[in-house]
């Protein structure tokens, strides 16, 4: 395997790449030495608290802060007036009329969801700031809230944004192949209505910002835990009335993100305004109630699906009308309603697909790019559909899946929407996963157990984890959107003592970038990972970055490493040039080993520090035309094209990792409670740089999916109050809910990346598919159909009762 994917341009020894070395960053984290935003203290720093709306939808008639201002310890209060002074509305990426939508860091004129910030207070301590919030008088005129996408589309529905004139913020039809022909030739058409619920990322660290304005230099330093701040910089730069050249953004250690920490730019600006008004540094640490209430939920989606199929289970085509409830503001939307385009036919071979896509605003928290963003909803919908195809045709769901999967020999495979799946063997992966849970044995046992009144079910699903996204896909939302492609910047230097230092524009929060980068660089320079220092965290004044920089969309092993390899190559060449001159040899005769540059097959060598000494101090001895210093920058750019706006096709992502999951569950027919008896995953993310890191990502995304399928849901009351507003009701699973997860790996290198790596991390929450299937399988004697992605005990209990009544 290794040979095939050895870099053509640089000899990467495979000594460290592919080895599960201990994570470098872990050492500080296990000793209490990690530094997170909340650990930062700045002299004279104030503490902020936010006042949030108790109403889902209401006019703000009056805000009276006078009592709060008089409270000793209160230094500054920010309300809509200040925000209007400091901000223009955030730019939107939707076509008219929704591009008129007004969005600010704080509610202006109207509150549009319960939990929306209405005022911000800075005081000498957090408790005083909270006391002050209680003293702020806000007079509201309650308006009827709209809390459901279908309701929101009715002509008489309340408008979330009057300036837009409709709650339908984006609608587009995508038509691939010949759908009508497919349905005409079908033996059977299966129709379903499905609902994908709201859950979230729920990192253990909530959003946090420290804004520090230095009057002397006029520099505003924003410490935050945003996971793609330099992408957000576009929004900040265009809406914040503050010189962008004087904004410095720093992310220290970040306590998890899962996509939810992409939207904190509103807080970065709000706390900055507070700091500017107070004339002192301000820290804001979100509390958990705020985190849960203020959005960053995943896209809630309703699907009306029809599948045209042959008797034998062959899928000819699929039609789906989707309604995405994106909450009160667009923020990153309607991208989530579009991202199915990365995995339009999922792992399946059908060519005919019609997607009628609708993004709708409601009076709920704004959604965010949560792990598996936009793809999960679609892949889950396809999985539900395929299983219903099987059940309604009286076939085994596993057989129908295997029958319709794309074959390994068909890779690279171009999907109906123009994406290119790089590589993979879906059939083998699913079969492997099924073996790991002893599929055949359970199938046999299942029948007897049913007779004993025990409901055991087996579920299996395979989702792709599309990584390294092409931003040009947003031009299918609005042709004028000025972004495209994917890029990354890395800077690398050897200091004058021969030490190697790397800075990459990423914002890791558990992906161990310091470790994997040092593994790759060690292999390029023939040293050990300990000889490579990767500058921790992110500092926009230290780390090179592009408008795509950040940690999101499962891609560091491709884009980040692409930049690192490019920089390593440049640095290596320069060192080789100087070393060749010192050793009176040709560069191609040299090899790098043990901190020295050798003339191959001889004992002649110069140490890195000797080369560096020439480059930094003894510069007159440098060869002709070689610049002093050993510092290089490299920007990596993904080989993407612009979309075809006529056909509405785009190669939306570069690599396609995938995971096959298989599980056994038991449903308690008296209570509706689901217990997982066995769980197995087969993962293929191409060549792993650090297998331990990959396995950790697989465990995590699997837990995320189990949590979403059985425990976590954002539930709103009919008045628009969030009812799952603390960890008492938003059920984050513990060690006792999550089973041991068996993991096995396959390695199918990506032909499109230098090391054969693929992005990994989102794992696309396959349990949503596998568990829904397993529950349906367990209850198949009752003919229960699972149509919701979240299945708590009472919901299952009611389905069982209704089914029993029917019988």
């Amino acid at each position: 395997m290794a040979e095939a994917i050895l870099s053509k341009e640089i000899p990467v020894l495979r000594k460290w790449v592919g080895t599960p070395i201990k994570a470098k960053e872990a050492l500080r984290l296990i000793t209490g030495g990690g530094r997170f935003v909340d650990d930062i203290k700045i002299p004279g720093m104030l503490y902020a608290a936010l006042l949030r709306s108790p109403y889902a939808h209401a006019k703000i008639k009056r805000i009276d802060t006078s009592k709060a201002e008089k409270l000793p310890g209160v230094v500054a209060i920010v309300t809509q007036e200040d925000v209007l002074k400091w901000c223009k509305p955030y730019p939107q990426i939707v076509p008219p009329p929704a591009d008129k939508l007004l969005d600010y860091p704080i509610a202006v004129g109207k509150v549009r969801f319960a939990g929306e910030p209405v005022a911000a207070v800075a005081a000498t301590d957090r408790a005083i700031a909270e006391d002050a919030c209680e003293l702020i008088e806000v007079e509201y005129e309650p308006l009827p809230p709209v809390l459901d996408a279908e309701e929101a589309l009715k002509p008489d529905a309340p408008l979330v944004h009057e300036e837009v004139g409709t709650n339908l913020v984006w609608h587009e039809v995508f038509d691939y192949g010949d759908v009508d022909k497919a349905f005409a030739e079908a033996d059977k058409v299966i129709s379903l209505k499905l609902h994908h619920h709201r859950y979230g990322g729920a990192p253990t660290e909530t959003h946090a910002v420290v804004a520090d304005y230095d009057k002397g230099t006029g520099v505003l330093t924003i410490y935050c835990n945003n996971q793609m701040p330099m992408f957000c910089m576009a929004l900040i730069g265009l809406s914040f009335n503050f010189p962008t050249d004087k904004i410095r953004i720093i992310t220290p250690d970040i306590g998890g993100g899962f996509g939810s920490k992409i939207l904190s730019y509103t807080y970065m600006m709000l706390i900055s305004i507070l700091a500017l008004k107070a004339g002192r540094a301000v820290k804001w640490m979100e509390d958990r109630r705020e985190y849960l209430a203020a959005g960053t939920h995943c896209n809630e989606a309703t699907f009306y699906v029809e599948a045209a199929v042959k008797k034998d289970g062959t899928i000819l085509g699929i039609k789906a009308r989707t309604l995405h409830d994106v909450g009160a503001y667009l923020r990153y939307e309607p991208v989530g309603a579009l991202l199915w385009i990365q995995v339009s036919s999922g792992p399946y071979r059908f060519k005919n697909l019609r997607m009628d896509v609708n993004a709708v605003v409601t009076n709920k928290g704004p959604v965010a790019p949560i792990r598996g963003y936009g793809r999960i909803q679609h892949l889950w919908m396809l999985e539900r559909t395929v299983e219903q195809v099987a059940r309604q045709l009286g076939l085994d769901p596993v057989e129908v899946k295997l029958k319709n999967y794309i074959r390994p020999e068909e890779m690279p495979y171009v999907t109906p929407s123009g994406a290119t799946y790089d590589s993979g063997d879906y059939l083998t992966a699913l079969k492997k996963a099924l073996q790991m849970i002893k599929y055949e044995e359970w199938k046999k046992k299942q029948k007897e157990l049913w007779e004993q009144g025990r409901y055991i079910g087996i579920g299996a699903a395979l989702f792709q984890d599309s990584g390294t996204n092409n931003f040009a896909q947003v031009r299918l939302i609005y042709k004028n959107n000025p972004f495209s492609g994917q890029s990354r910047m890395a800077e690398m230097w050897m200091d004058e003592f021969g030490r190697i230092i790397v800075a990459v524009g990423s914002n890791p929060h558990g992906q161990c970038h310091e470790t994997v980068v040092s593994q790759v660089v060690a292999d390029v320079f023939g040293v050990t990972p300990d000889d490579v220092f990767v500058v921790p965290g992110f500092d926009s004044w230290v780390h090179g970055w592009t408008g795509h920089s950040g940690s999101y969309a499962s891609q560091f092993a491709v884009s980040g490493i692409g930049a690192v390899l490019g920089a390593a190559k440049r640095l290596r060449e320069k060192i080789a040039t100087i070393a060749a001159h010192m050793l009176k040899a040709k560069p191609e005769e040299l090899e790098f080993k043990d901190g020295k540059v050798w003339v191959k097959g001889t004992d002649r060598a110069v140490a890195f520090w000797q080369v560096a000494n020439l480059a930094y101090r003894n510069v007159l001895e440098l060869p002709e035309g070689v610049e002093p210093g050993l510092r290089v920058i490299y920007s990596w750019k993904a080989p993407f094209k612009l979309p075809d706006l006529e056909k509405k096709t785009v190669n939306a992502t570069l690599t396609y990792s995938y995971q096959a999951h298989a599980c056994v569950v038991e449903v308690d027919p008296e209570t509706g409670k689901v217990k997982i008896l066995d769980y197995a995953v087969v993962d293929d993310c191409g060549v792993p740089i650090n297998p331990a890191v990959v396995e950790g990502q697989v465990h995590g995304s699997t837990m995320n999916g189990i949590a979403a399928a059985l425990f976590e849901e954002y539930v709103y009351s009919k008045d628009g109050q969030l009812l799952s507003s603390t960890f008492m009701d938003y059920l984050f699973p513990t060690t006792l809910e999550i089973p041991d997860i068996k993991v096995d790996h396959m390695i199918t290198p990506s032909p499109f990346t230098e090391l054969g790596t693929k992005g990994v991390g989102e794992g696309s929450l396959v349990p949503l598919g596998a568990i829904a299937g397993a529950i349906e399988d367990a209850l198949s004697p009752l003919g229960v159909v699972i149509t919701d992605s979240h299945n708590p005990p009472e919901r299952i209990y009611r389905m069982i009762r209704e089914a029993q009544k029917r019988k």
Partner: protein, 161 residues
């Protein structure tokens, strides 16, 4: 505003003192007043366990205790585990088993493990899962954490501190 009062306690073997209001939570006192920021805060309701410390020999959630209640207490935080540059076996085990990713919940996980193993040096997997029930982790699915606790138990049985 109630005025502050001095609190004396022993943290990681060192006598310390600092001022707190009646409503100050122990976790804020430890982090902000004593400057030991290894103990984290992840929720408002005593669920997540990020703030777990050892107080008078037992694991507690320092966000559910008022600073005043810690007067005279003996407290151990994650900063107090490694002795003269040598990691505690639990820390080694977490590192070697990749039992952390973002690391935010890790200090709490480690302190809960410390209590579990102090009382039950050879826990079964079930006992481990029960012992760590009060510590949320979003990154790891708990798989490697459970592995690490087993490994730590073995290390300690072999007489690593």
């Amino acid at each position: 505003m109630v005025e502050k009062r001095k609190i004396k306690l022993k943290v990681n073997g060192v006598e310390m003192e600092g001022e707190a209001e009646p409503r100050t939570l122990l976790v804020h006192f430890i982090r902000d007043t004593l400057g030991l920021t290894g103990t984290h805060i992840g929720c408002d309701t005593g669920h997540c366990g990020c703030c777990t410390i050892i107080m008078n020999g037992v694991s507690v959630k320092s966000c559910m205790i008022l600073a005043y209640q810690a007067e005279g207490a003996e407290i151990l935080t994650v900063e107090g585990l490694a002795k003269d540059g040598k990691l505690h076996p639990i820390q080694e085990a977490f590192w070697e088993n990749h039992a952390l990713q973002c690391g935010y919940c890790t200090p709490g996980q480690i302190m809960s493990t410390f209590f579990l193993l102090s009382r039950n040096p050879k826990p079964t997997e079930e006992e481990i899962r029960r012992g760590l029930e009060g510590n949320y982790c979003r990154c790891t699915g708990y798989v490697n954490i459970v592995k690490a606790v087993k490994a730590a138990a073995e290390k300690m049985a072999k007489g690593g501190s």
